[in-house]
Structures are given as structure tokens and as C-alpha cells.
């Protein structure tokens, strides 16, 4: 049961991320600080299981963002993202 078999994608982190952000994160796009590729968050590779969300670039696998749900609230870090593009949300 390898890390690769277990990994999910940004779709599975959306419930958690939408506690932090007020928009549909899976259609937002991030530009990777590691390789410059821009990808929708729904396509980022998700690791971390119950420890937290570790979202990695689908192209270079470097960490783009991490989120942990702590006792009260969340801690989030996005050093691996150059910027996020957030399209208007429909409905």
C-alpha cells in the first residue's frame, strides 16, 4: 500500500480548504513556485491523510500548500504557490 496508491487529489481536500477559503478551491489555479506550472487545485496531488492536507504540484511534485486542522481553526502555509487565480464563482 504505497503512498502513490493512497494519494488523492485536490478534489478530496476541497471540503477542508473551503473552511479556509470562501471560494470553490478546485477551480482556482495555482502557479507552482517550484516549476512555474499553473494547475487547477483539483489536479494537485494530495497526501497527508488525517495529519493534514499536503498538496503537491502534479508536474514537479513539490509542495505547494499545506493545511492542518488544529484544535481551534486551521494553520495553512502556501510558500509553494507563487499566486492563486480565483475565477468568479457561479451560484
Amino acid at each position: 500500500m504505497s503512498a502513490e496508491t493512497l494519494r488523492l487529489d485536490g478534489n478530496a481536500a476541497a471540503g477542508l480548504l473551503e473552511q479556509v477559503f470562501a471560494f470553490d478551491v478546485t477551480v482556482a489555479r495555482s502557479t507552482c513556485a517550484g516549476c512555474g506550472q499553473t494547475s487547477p487545485l483539483g489536479t494537485l496531488l494530495l497526501y497527508g491523510g488525517e495529519m493534514g492536507a499536503v498538496l503537491r504540484c502534479p508536474s514537479c511534485e513539490s509542495v505547494q500548500m499545506r493545511v492542518v486542522q488544529v484544535r481551534e481553526g486551521y494553520v495553512m502555509e502556501m510558500q509553494g504557490v507563487v499566486h492563486l487565480e480565483i475565477p468568479p464563482t457561479v451560484g
Binding site: S2, L6, M51, G52, V70, R71, Y74
Partner: protein
């Protein structure tokens, strides 16, 4: 009281092991796999383990040299911060005391570093005095890559995220420096008996 799901109990067992479980933990069958990234696959002929940082002289062992070091068989309970525990897990590895034997340092802390970039921090005194190993066997078999093979840090008295998988060395430091999870909300020390899971937990 928040919503209760009628009849839901979950997978846990707690009954017959009272006293061995830290607060908030549950026994589970199996050995859950959790990773922050893809499984590293360093070939053994390129693997090494180093002691670096604030030391008089850095040390390094190749895999062949590492296997020559005196090793111990260890049986311990392990506790994950995600609440599962496993009792009486068996390992084989080299005590960190062996690796640090005779080393001169003024450092009080270590940062374990690993293939794939994972790090975790501990006080030096929590990896010495018979409390920590570099383990390369689990249950009598070579440690599988999914569980941190070829070798992982094993520090059973702290939450299991401190038992860093794919460990490649220890950096000795004068100050405590948060590792991968510690910089994201998890407790700097992580004592399961005081339930030190997150920042701010006493």
C-alpha cells in the same frame, strides 16, 4: 452536545488495554500508512546516514557500514497523533546512542532529515539514553518502503510523526527548529501522555 450518529462506534478497541493507552488514543488493527509525499526509493548503494551540524566532526555511514553497527531488537507501543495506537510493535535497529557515542557537541536539539524533504525536531535528550533508534526491520522483516524503509527514526515515547520515515541523518542544533508538521500547527515536543498534539497544548 453536537450531533451523535445513532449506533456508530468506529473501529476502535480500548477495553483490555487500559493503562497502556495515552488519552484520546484507540487501538487499531493493521498499520496505517500516511505520507506527506511520494515514497522515496533511494538505492542502498547510494544511501547513507549522517550526523551533521554542531558537532566536532561529522559522521557518515554507508548502508554496508550501518549494518555492521551493533543493533537491538525493540518492542514498544507506538501512538499516532491521528489517534491510533499499536501495542507491542517489534523493530530492529541501531540505537542513536551508538551513533552519537563519543561525539562532542554543545547542541541541545536535533532535526532529523529525510529523503523526500521531511524533517522533524526533537530535544537531543529525547533521542539519547536508550529512547531512539534508526530502525531497519519491522516484525522481523526488512522495513518496507511504505513504512519508511530502508530505515526510519524510531522514537516511541513521542507521537509517531516524530519517528521520521526515510531518515538520512540528524542535524545537531543549538535551538529547537520546527520540522515539517511542527511548523504547521503540530506540537514542538509531542508527548502522547500529556496529549501534546498541537501548538498551545500544555
Amino acid at each position: 452536545m453536537s450531533f451523535i450518529s445513532r449506533g456508530f462506534k468506529g473501529r476502535r478497541r480500548t477495553a483490555s488495554v487500559a493503562g497502556r493507552l495515552p488519552p484520546g488514543q484507540y487501538i487499531v488493527d493493521g498499520f496505517p500508512v500516511l505520507s506527506a509525499g511520494p515514497t522515496p526509493r533511494t538505492p542502498l548503494d547510494r544511501w547513507d546516514f549522517s550526523i551533521v551540524g554542531q558537532v566536532d566532526q561529522a559522521r557518515r555511514w554507508t548502508w554496508a557500514e550501518f549494518l555492521q553497527l551493533p543493533a537491538e531488537e525493540i518492542t514498544r507501543d507506538i501512538h499516532c497523533v491521528t489517534k491510533w495506537s499499536k501495542l507491542d510493535t517489534t523493530w530492529k535497529g541501531v540505537s542513536v546512542d551508538t551513533l552519537l557515542d563519543g561525539l562532542e557537541t554543545s547542541a541541545d536539539y536535533v532535526l532529523a532529515f529525510c529523503d523526500g524533504g521531511y524533517t522533524t525536531n526533537l530535544p537531543l535528550e529525547d533521542v539519547t539514553g536508550g529512547k531512539a533508534w534508526i530502525a531497519y526491520e519491522y516484525e522481523g522483516q526488512s522495513l518496507e518502503p511504505e513504512h519508511g524503509g530502508p530505515a526510519r527514526l524510531l522514537v516511541p515515547h513521542l507521537y509517531f510523526w516524530k519517528s521520521a520515515k526515510w531518515v538520512r541523518g540528524l542535524e545537531l542544533l543549538p535551538e529547537d527548529q520546527p520540522g515539517f508538521w511542527e511548523s504547521l500547527g503540530y506540537h514542538m515536543y509531542g508527548d502522547p501522555w500529556r496529549e501534546q498534539r498541537y501548538w498551545g497544548d500544555e
